[in-house]
Subunit: 137 residues, 3 copies
């Protein structure tokens, strides 16, 4: 069994952003030398998540509008009494989930034809990190 | 370490359907010869997901009604400008998550007494696929 | 490759409760002797979930209020015709997801500085269980 770990840093220009990271994950898997196994992609900050969905800008706008409806940025959250203003970003992370496992087969990400991996930043413009751990052989 | 991968195809009769797949996953794990490890079950199409919940038809009706409230099928999504009409199915996949890891112990799925595995099809009536990868020894 | 499995039992004092379990998971990983791999933490009852988020009580109150808005406890669910009254707890489990994978690096949980692991009990005051399976070497 082999295991390989890398961390990717992000500092998005906007507070909320979807960043396409399939190429970076593919490259990490290639560098790992692992032919068959699992690649865990997990956001290490509690106001960001990971989704695996379509790389289509219209849908991305729909996703943000939908997240704003279901977990709106607004004053009044009790979390804000700590001085923070990002409770919505914590809820958005829970809603979309903060991680995904990508199966690795024959040394490649075993994704469906339309599956792309995205880092979902819900409180950006500062340095944040994800962990990618590949395990297999 | 051993690894074993199978793909399951679905073509549901209805556009939205919950398909109980615990027996198929159990059979794949038995065929893998793996006694202890993880079984990843992941929907490879971006308008379908996987849930682990109760095999009770009343609850299934509740789940669909609830998904329709939180991620309604309706015109007006920007994704539909591409000619698609299934933006809601993309959002439903994000909401329920597209994958689950089933622990494997003593050669069996290590599920709670009421846990059953379901393929959640949100835009069916066409051939779609999930990947099942078992890793362990 | 090594694998190590433990089950944790909970019986919460309140029907809905967030239980901080990072120390228990850390201890299981230490006991496993696994230095590098994955720790799966999965709720085995279908009315409970796992989240990885902030250990801040104001946010926890926000999370419960939000879950009650998106998946309210109320009469009228079809699932209740079976005699149950907890359909909302099933929906809450789907919403927050029922499991997380914690990467293990150098014998420790490889969590971000603010990531804590919680058992989310949505229908408690009775004995329920999670499985923790660590795999790696």
């Amino acid at each position: 069994m082999k295991s390989y770990t890398e961390y990717l840093w992000f500092e998005t220009a906007k507070r909320k952003e979807l960043v396409h990271i399939t190429p970076e994950i593919e490259q990490i898997v290639a560098g790992s030398g692992i032919e068959d196994g699992f690649a865990l992609v997990s956001a290490m900050h509690i106001t960001a998540g990971i989704i695996v969905n379509d790389n289509e800008s219209g849908l991305h706008a729909d996703i943000w509008e939908w997240l704003e409806e279901l977990a709106p940025a607004r004053p009044g959250y009790r979390h804000h009494r700590t001085g923070e203003d990002n409770a919505d970003a914590h809820l958005k992370r829970i809603l979309v989930h903060h991680q995904a496992i990508i199966p690795v087969t024959k040394g490649r990400l075993d994704l469906g034809p339309w599956e792309s991996v995205f880092y979902l930043e819900a409180d950006g413009m500062r340095k944040k990190r994800i962990v990618v751990k590949v395990m297999g052989e």
